[in-house]
Symmetry: C2
Amino acid sequence: MARDYGWELSTAIVLFHEAVARRLGLNAAEHKALGAILRSGPMPIGALAPELGVGVTALTGIVDRLERAGYVLRRPDPSDRRRTLLVANPDKTPDLGGIFADLGQAMAEFQSRYDEHEMAVITDYLDNTIRVLRDQVTRLAS
Amino acid sequence: MARDYGWELSTAIVLFHEAVARRLGLNAAEHKALGAILRSGPMPIGALAPELGVGVTALTGIVDRLERAGYVLRRPDPSDRRRTLLVANPDKTPDLGGIFADLGQAMAEFQSRYDEHEMAVITDYLDNTIRVLRDQVTRLAS
DNA sequence: CCATTTACTCCACTACGATGGACTATCCAT
DNA sequence: ATGGATAGTCCATCGTAGTGGAGTAAATGG
């Protein structure tokens, strides 16, 4: 039987995510919330909650712990003082960078062995895979 | 700025996993346990627990719910009557198969456009990516 | 300026994941 | 045969994710 690359890659990525979270001392909910804040930049709790698919009340406690752990800061929004913006703590970004720097280096090392055409094939494959997965998520949610 | 394929693929896979779990009515722990049972075949709780990184006591409740939902059966191990083997319920496998059949078909469709050499490049890339991710998991756990 | 809406927090509650300890049944080595 | 180890469940307990409802503070619209 041929190797099931899809399943193996999928498992490897999920395990990697979990390992990162464990290394940062975060559980799944906190890790997911921190990821969204890092990706989308400063945002109020009210915008983050629907993005994660939970109510704002559930987020208060999660953000409490992220703040206590030093990953996130609550900053008042100057343009609307009801809101508190969630900001990734710049003092902690080196921690995060360190984790992914090794990964990036290891990936770059073997990627450099591919020529231009090969690299084009790979990105085409990744592009299609991502598209298919997103389609499937949409289908499954319906 | 170039697209970050690694991040996009990673996110797409994680979201796909979550969508599958939601579709099956399972939470993360149950989904993970069911995946391990499907992958490794019938196994006692005592073998599954370390694989998932939890204690056996935590698994009792998870398996209870998987059994109640019909995905898993508890069968006595004839060779050691202390043990109960966890078996994927064959009646439910069509449900699981249906979810992945669409994915497999969509993947196969665009994969058929690659020639032999291109496919070799892709599997080489996937192989290396899986290796690097596993190395990183090991490193992060240390 | 007052009523309404909005943003967030706090509270009580439910459910789950995980732990350690106690217990039962079974296996196995002496 | 019996004493110890092993497999699994049950129990009490803790921390956490999620809900809905109440409350506070601030923005907004007539």
